[in-house]
């Protein structure tokens, strides 16, 4: 039984094996980019919005709203990063229903790369908002004793992000394959529907956790403003 699409080699490019993971990642990237380019081609105020543009606006507004609920600081770069992650993962997970398409998120390489990008983005956002000293100081809070635990926590976050996404998607594929051998007519369809739900939820969770990690790294101590306290009491 194949546990990952890494073992399916599509073609070899100068001795480097190009696996199904790489090819399908590029397919998804081309799909997302192509659809976005096609929809936003006539993005002018005098052109009335059509249904594709409205759909895209609904998606983007939904992501903006979800991010605004989590992080207090409005930073459009968080939207670009997390929104891209979410759209990529959700497209990859939903394309599992296409027969013959090995989704790249069922490979540990893809999910590890995504988790690694989150792991790199967190210090970049943290340093960008607090400065190097301010970001490094967050490792020795609340006390110096917590330094090794904070460092371990940073890495275990990345590992758990990667394994969580990989395990969920891979388990859906494996359970589908096992049920095909046991009860081939009806049950695999039901489990595939469950897999669709799990895929969307896992994409949502990946994006939410990335937002939470980034906003916890960029969080500045709350400044009690006179106008803010006034609003709170109202």
């Amino acid at each position: 039984m194949e546990l990952t699409p890494d073992e399916t080699i599509i073609f070899a490019l100068r001795g480097i094996a190009i696996t199904a993971t790489v090819v399908n990642t590029w397919v998804i990237m081309a799909l997302l980019t192509g659809v976005s380019v096609l929809v936003t081609r006539n993005l002018r105020p005098d052109v009335p919005p059509n249904r594709w543009r409205t759909a895209l606006e609904v998606i983007v507004n939904g992501i903006v709203g979800q991010i605004a609920e989590i992080s207090e600081r409005r930073d459009p770069r968080v939207l670009y990063f997390v929104g891209t992650l979410f759209l990529f993962i959700v497209t990859a997970n939903l394309l599992t229903v296409v027969p013959g398409f090995d989704t790249p998120t069922a490979s540990l390489s893809t999910t590890a790369a995504l988790a690694l990008s989150v792991l790199v983005a967190v210090p970049i956002f943290g340093v960008g908002s607090r400065g190097i000293g301010g970001y490094l100081r967050s490792y020795i809070e609340p006390s110096f004793v917590m330094l090794p635990f904070n460092i371990i926590g940073e890495f275990s976050r990345g590992i758990s992000l990667a394994i969580r996404l990989y395990g969920n998607i891979m388990s859906g594929a494996v359970i589908g394959a096992i049920l095909l051998g046991v009860a081939p007519f009806f049950f695999p369809v039901v489990m595939d529907m469950l897999g669709l739900l799990t895929g969307v939820i896992q994409a949502y969770i990946f994006a939410i956790l990335a937002t939470v990690y980034i906003s916890s790294a960029t969080a500045t101590p709350p400044v009690l403003d006179a106008s803010e306290t006034k609003e709170d009491t109202q």
């Binding site: 039984m1 546990l3 758990s160 394994i163 969580r164 990989y166 395990g167 969920n168 891979m170 388990s171 494996v174 939820i201 896992q202 949502y204 969770i205 939410i208 956790l209």
Partner: protein
């Protein structure tokens, strides 16, 4: 018993054990989380959207421990490194 059959038997037994214990803990945890979320929604129906969103995120985080166990079981069954090493040693020796 040969080395190969001992490795196979222990791997299969351990895979079952891993999944059983890995299902036990998260099932209890998810049950507690869901029941507290339901009582919270019953007390404050207005906050149902926030509660259910948080519930989904926390359920998936609890579930990920079960998924880790599942991944370990799958590795034991289908990608066992000890099995491959033992198999290579047997085919070379025999």
């Amino acid at each position: 018993m040969t080395d190969l059959s001992i490795i196979a038997a222990i791997s299969i037994f351990t895979a079952g054990l891993t999944v059983s214990f890995g299902a036990l803990g998260p099932a209890l945890g998810e049950g507690r989380a869901a029941s507290s979320a339901l009582s919270a929604i019953a007390q404050q129906p207005d906050a149902a959207a926030t509660i259910s969103r948080t519930l989904f995120v926390s359920l998936a985080m609890i579930e990920s421990t079960a998924i880790y166990c599942f991944v370990v079981a799958m590795i034991l069954l289908f990608a066992n490194p000890f099995w491959n090493t033992a198999l290579a040693a047997v085919t070379q020796g025999g």
